[in-house]
């Protein structure tokens, strides 16, 4: 298959464009059908939330490899600092749908009483911290959280999600510096949005890749392709493993392709894994329909109950 302008550079490939797996041993412990279900759930959640016409809403379709890897890989005592397009992290980690919807709607009865930033889903029990207003602020909070975890000696870690736009901020630089100085068990996960025609300078992409810049500071880094769901899972798994082990901070850069830009089908992370499952005869259309319907039902029921409650109150 010929590489298109959509293919990111400098990434290692585990699951290729046609669904071929270069190193099957790398995913030996992973139930791929189950993982696929989570990815589909993430996509449908995005679709359903998008239909709510929320203020400042932005679709995360195309970023599922990140949300699902984060939601699946973190340990119970790890913290995740999310942004505004990471609702699927909470879903994957197990946040109940009614609460997820309440938060998305900014409902006063939600856990955070509607005080989250638009699009940001948090949970104290699941150790998911919501987004902050100043650019890059959650990176520095996450470093402190991770440093604290290390001081308690618990072998726990903190993950923080952000976009390439934050990497021109001073906070990004200072957060990396502090993580290095204190050898904090923090994993920086940068979702770099790339356009085929190249991002404008203002978007925050300067010099070489974010991963390469972070490596220049002394960080352990990986750069991967967001369409390669298994590659993302592997890279994030390694970074988290290092952090849990006390080997210090890491940065994982994932090149994400927004689905609303109509990229070729193989840039869709879900489609790639589908091709692999299909080749192994583990995918059928009815399977797909059931997985999708399940999420649709869950969402619709929760929303209906919430509307009924709200009407009841009013």
């Amino acid at each position: 298959m010929q590489a298109t302008a959509w293919e990111p550079e400098g990434v290692e490939c585990l699951l290729d464009a046609s669904g071929g797996l270069s190193d099957p041993a790398a995913v030996s412990g992973l139930d791929l059908r189950d993982y696929y279900k989570k990815l589909v759930a993430a996509r449908i959640l995005d679709l359903k939330l998008g239909r709510l016409q929320l203020p400042m809403w932005a679709s995360s379709a195309g970023e599922e490899a990140v949300s699902v890897a984060v939601g699946s890989l973190v340990g119970t005592h790890d913290w995740i600092y999310v942004g505004n397009r990471d609702a699927a992290v909470a879903l994957t980690r197990g946040l109940a749908m009614p609460e997820l919807i309440r938060q998305a709607l900014g409902h006063p009865d939600a856990e955070m009483r509607g005080r989250n930033l638009p699009g940001s889903i948090a949970s104290t029990e699941l150790r998911i911290a919501g987004a902050c207003e100043p650019l890059g602020m959650s990176l520095a909070l996450a470093v402190g959280q991770a440093h604290g975890q290390k001081l308690f000696g618990r072998g726990r870690a903190t993950i923080v999600l952000f976009g390439e736009g934050a990497t021109t901020s001073g906070m990004f630089h200072e957060a990396m510096v502090l993580a290095l100085a204190h050898d904090a068990p923090v994993v920086f996960v940068c979702k770099s949005q790339l356009w085929p025609e190249g991002a404008p300078a203002e978007a925050g992409l300067l010099g070489d890749s974010v991963a390469e810049r972070a490596r220049g500071l002394g960080l352990w880094t990986r750069r991967c392709d967001g369409a390669d769901v298994l590659g993302v899972h592997r890279a994030l798994g390694s970074a988290l493993h290092r952090a849990h082990e006390g080997s210090g901070p890491a940065l994982v850069e994932v090149i994400v392709t927004p689905m609303h830009q109509d990229p070729p089908a193989e840039r869709d992370p879900i489609e790639r894994l589908r091709r692999l499952l299909d080749a192994r005869s583990e995918w059928t259309q009815p399977f797909q329909d059931v997985v999708e319907a399940e999420l649709h039902n869950q969402f619709d029921k929760a929303l209906a109950r919430l509307s009924a409650e709200t009407r009841g109150v009013a």
Partner: protein, 346 residues
């Protein structure tokens, strides 16, 4: 075929025209901000972006926490008159160290360096997003030594306020400019004003220079009480004054709009306070440590002999607020009316 049916135009469109005109009338001016080349987050550079002669002075910047403000100051030190359009007045708090540095430069250099730079930012409640985007930052910015802080309270005045704030023609050797902030209440940005009244040079509606924009305006005259207000609270203040005038018995209220919040010139405010001795101050944001306290403090010192009622401050509640609670960030007209009645009947 075209008839003049559209008598009103969105504020953001009116501002886009002002910005293009400002750039056209002095080529020292340049425009900074996120996505200015693409029209800007609020569309304020749309007109300029379509003008090939102006496009070269639209300077799109990467996202930074604080350096973009210092960068604009450096451009001013080099002889330009930068206009920086910020997405939110919260960005000025985020860049506070830079803003403080710029405002300090004329002092630090004993007047040898001038900083003709203007920062324009949406302020206070209005967009329904809560948090930073519902905060009125003037009470923090008023403490930046050397900064000139302006705001505007009437939707029809917004283009003129921008036009005046972007004027640095008073700059001269030995008379350095201070950096200037113009806060635009978000609700006014969502409003609209008369279409004709744009900022074309020579247009009679517009002040040609900053000197032409008064630091305060008397918007209503009345002998029973004096009401001081600014920014987003002015609308409620005027509504309250009008309600009082229409009441039976009528209460005649003088309404004073403060346009320049820092540096503050207390003398005309004190004179207005003495004239009635019945004083109400209305502003957005929390009352405690709000800028209204300074007015009350001035009056309690300089107008004490004329004071024959408590000085009432009617303000927003203490924040922050969630999006659905934004109305709590500003005083209501009803609360202002109550305060007026209170002090008049005292």
């Amino acid at each position: 075929m075209s008839v003049e049916v559209q008598s009103s135009q969105p504020t953001t469109e009116r501002l886009a025209t002002v910005i293009a005109d400002l750039l056209a009338t002095d080529d020292r001016r340049c425009l900074l901000g996120e996505d200015v080349v693409g029209g800007g987050m609020l569309g304020l550079s749309k007109v300029a972006a379509n003008d090939p002669k102006l496009r070269g002075r639209l300077l799109g910047s990467p996202l930074t926490n604080a350096a973009h403000v210092a960068h604009a100051g450096g451009l001013a030190l080099a002889g330009l008159w930068p206009i920086v359009v910020l997405p939110s007045s919260g960005a000025l708090l985020e860049a506070l160290p830079s803003l403080r540095e710029l405002a300090r430069q004329p002092w630090r250099t004993a007047g040898h360096r001038s900083l003709p730079v203007l920062f324009v930012a949406p302020d206070g409640p209005g967009f329904g997003l809560g948090g930073d985007a519902a905060e009125s930052v003037e009470s923090t910015l008023a403490h930046v030594p050397g900064l000139e802080l302006w705001t505007v309270g009437q939707v029809e005045d917004v283009p003129a306020a921008l036009h005046a704030a972007a004027d640095f023609s008073q700059e001269a050797p030995g008379r350095p400019c201070s950096p200037r902030v113009l806060l635009l209440p978000r609700r006014l940005l969502l409003g609209s004003g008369p279409r004709g009244s744009t900022a074309r040079p020579g247009h009679p509606d517009l002040p040609a220079t900053l000197a032409a924009r008064p630091e305060l305006q008397r918007l209503r005259e009345g002998a029973d009480a004096t009401l001081f207000a600014w920014g987003d609270a002015l609308r409620a203040a005027l509504a309250a004054a009008d309600a009082c005038a229409a009441a039976d018995p009528a209460i005649a209220v003088t309404v004073i709009e403060l346009a320049r919040l820092a540096p503050l010139d207390p003398a005309p405010l004190i004179a207005a306070a003495r004239a009635t001795g019945k004083l109400v101050i209305a502003h957005c944001g929390p009352r405690t440590y709000g800028l209204g306290a300074e007015l009350a403090g001035q009056f309690a010192d300089q107008a004490i002999l004329q004071l024959d009622a408590p000085i009432r401050r009617v303000c927003g509640e203490s924040g922050p607020f969630a999006g659905h609670e934004e109305h709590r960030a500003s005083p209501s007209a009803a609360a202002i009316v109550d305060a007026i009645v209170d002090v008049v009947r005292f």
